[in-house]
Symmetry: C2
Subunit: 334 residues, 2 copies
């Protein structure tokens, strides 16, 4: 076996990654003018409370209300004109579905989205509003159903996280943050399937920003597969879909491509309790006047709950999304 | 009677104002570094929906969560060192109270705040948190109680709106908006006592920005004293404290100084229903991910409800504050 074969085999086994930081710069060039350059939010009170300087990248103000637009638009932009003409398919219960639907509308690509029967009506309406074709099926079946339809109709599949162009696109949020705020010592992102965390870690590896921050993932304690995977050196799969309030992070395992990047470039993954997520959500609402969804507040919860040593540091935090139901948020924080 | 006497008499009768646009520039110089330069928020969807370009000045992201910090800090900064040593007093249902309390803490001035028994707990807690002495009394009595305590203790009074330095300070929000976004055709602000609207109108009169926008006030229909005052050419007083959900606009009459500026410089005042305020609040929450209090959404409600002809125009809107209770907002928009 040659070195290249070994590398390919290791990569296919999810042990090393061919994805390099440059991919994030390439994605940023494609996303320019399409994705919002979201603002960076700060709070004197937060800084005092945690003894650090915290810079929140406001991806809840991204198009479709979540960072997912970056990866979806980037991935669709990379398709050949033949693939675009045939259309694309994805499966997702939430923000990635809306992101693919909007990216398709903007790029003139027909989109088919497989959602679980249990998806919130508001999320279904968003997908339909962007003009996607919607297929509903039992939650456990969505990837199988999606792959079967894609094969039947010859559609390109844009999976929610285990995809190089999706990962590179998600990394552009951290890239913008590092370009605007420098230097940063730490960079925190929530982790579900690992698209945002892997992209963030790639961005942190770029040599042409002044920062070389350590990258830390934050995960709900009751959905700690990523933390265990990083510790064990292999992808750990949860027995069941975890019932965290962070509905965007209810993944049973991280992607192989995502795990390969994480192993190489992520310093640590810490976990937060459901109560700690609620405290962060409440802080964001009451003090920073920002509507962030539970998943989107998980990285900040890691800082506020003291799960990461931030003392005296300059800390970037990705607020990853803001699609929440008013009544549900009120029940949590009211 | 000399021309100057006539002018002074007219001014004392609230018919003309000695306040000039330059006062806003002077206030801005004092507020630099103390007040947040708040961001300007936009939404493609909003622009499509109303057929205009709308630029929202995010004063809910101001210190204490409302534009009120500007006027309060400016007014306290203008006191003599003797007055500062004796301390200041104000009365307010909410945001002005917190603003005076924080300005006092920052400037080392003792503050006493008279609030109505009915003030929101979140607003009371803010005042106490900034170290003010809090006096509670029936809503209708607050000015009388405040003036009596001020006389007894020899405290300088910083009223919530009928005060030149307060008005000039509030105008700095519009000044920043015009400096960042130019040109603007229209500039909309909510009106309660008229501090923000008068300050906004003064700022719009400055000759050294590219914009000379028309200034329009927006008011809850069930608290329409300002609209009636402008129409009748005299200050109209409501019989009772209006029960609008916009709790920051529950004033029975505008200030004399405010009215004088409004007569000279405000193009129109339009009104919105309670339902229209809720629709704007809901839009801000669900689509723009911003927590704005009902009063803070009133000017945007005027645009969204079609009360102002904005077609094809570039429209500045002040989102004036964000201090709301999660459960209460959920009841309104959930």
């Amino acid at each position: 076996m040659t070195a290249t074969d070994a590398q390919r085999n290791a990569s296919e086994a999810g042990l090393t990654s061919a994805l390099q930081p440059q991919a994030v710069l390439d994605a940023a060039a494609i996303l320019k003018g399409a994705a919002n350059r979201t603002p960076v939010l700060t709070s004197r009170e937060l800084d005092r409370a945690v003894g650090a300087q915290v810079f929140c990248k406001a991806e809840h103000l991204q198009r479709v209300g979540a960072f997912k637009f970056r990866g979806a638009y980037h991935a669709l932009s990379r398709l050949s004109s033949e693939e675009r003409a045939r259309g694309v398919l994805t499966w997702s219960s939430g923000n990635h579905a809306a992101a693919v639907a909007l990216a398709g509308r903007l790029l003139g690509v027909r989109t088919t989205v497989v959602m679980p029967d249990s998806a919130l009506p508001i999320k279904r309406a968003a997908v339909l509003g962007y003009g996607a074709e919607l297929v509903c099926c039992p939650a456990a079946e969505r990837e199988n159903v999606g792959r079967r339809i894609a094969a039947q109709r010859d559609l390109a599949v844009i999976p929610p996280y285990d995809h190089d162009h999706v990962i590179a696109g998600q990394g552009t949020a951290a890239l913008e943050l590092m370009q605007e705020i420098e230097p940063l010592d730490l960079l925190l992102a929530p982790v579900g399937g690992g698209g945002l965390l892997a992209g963030t870690a790639l961005a942190a590896g770029l040599k042409d920003t002044r920062s070389r921050p350590r990258v830390i993932g934050v995960e709900p304690a009751i959905a700690d597969d990523a933390a265990r995977s990083l510790r064990d050196g292999r992808i750990v799969t949860l027995d069941h879909v975890p019932d965290t309030i962070a509905d965007g992070l209810r993944t049973r395992f991280v992607g192989e491509r995502n795990f390969a990047v994480m192993r190489e470039r992520v310093h640590d993954i810490v976990t937060v309790s459901e109560e700690e997520i609620v405290l962060a959500l409440r802080w964001l609402w009451v003090r920073m006047k920002q509507v962030v969804e539970p998943s989107g507040a998980v990285a900040l919860a890691g800082v506020m709950a003291g799960k990461v040593d931030v003392a005296g540091k300059r800390v970037g935090v990705v607020l990853s999304g803001g699609n929440a139901d008013p009544a549900a948020v009120a029940r949590l924080i009211g």
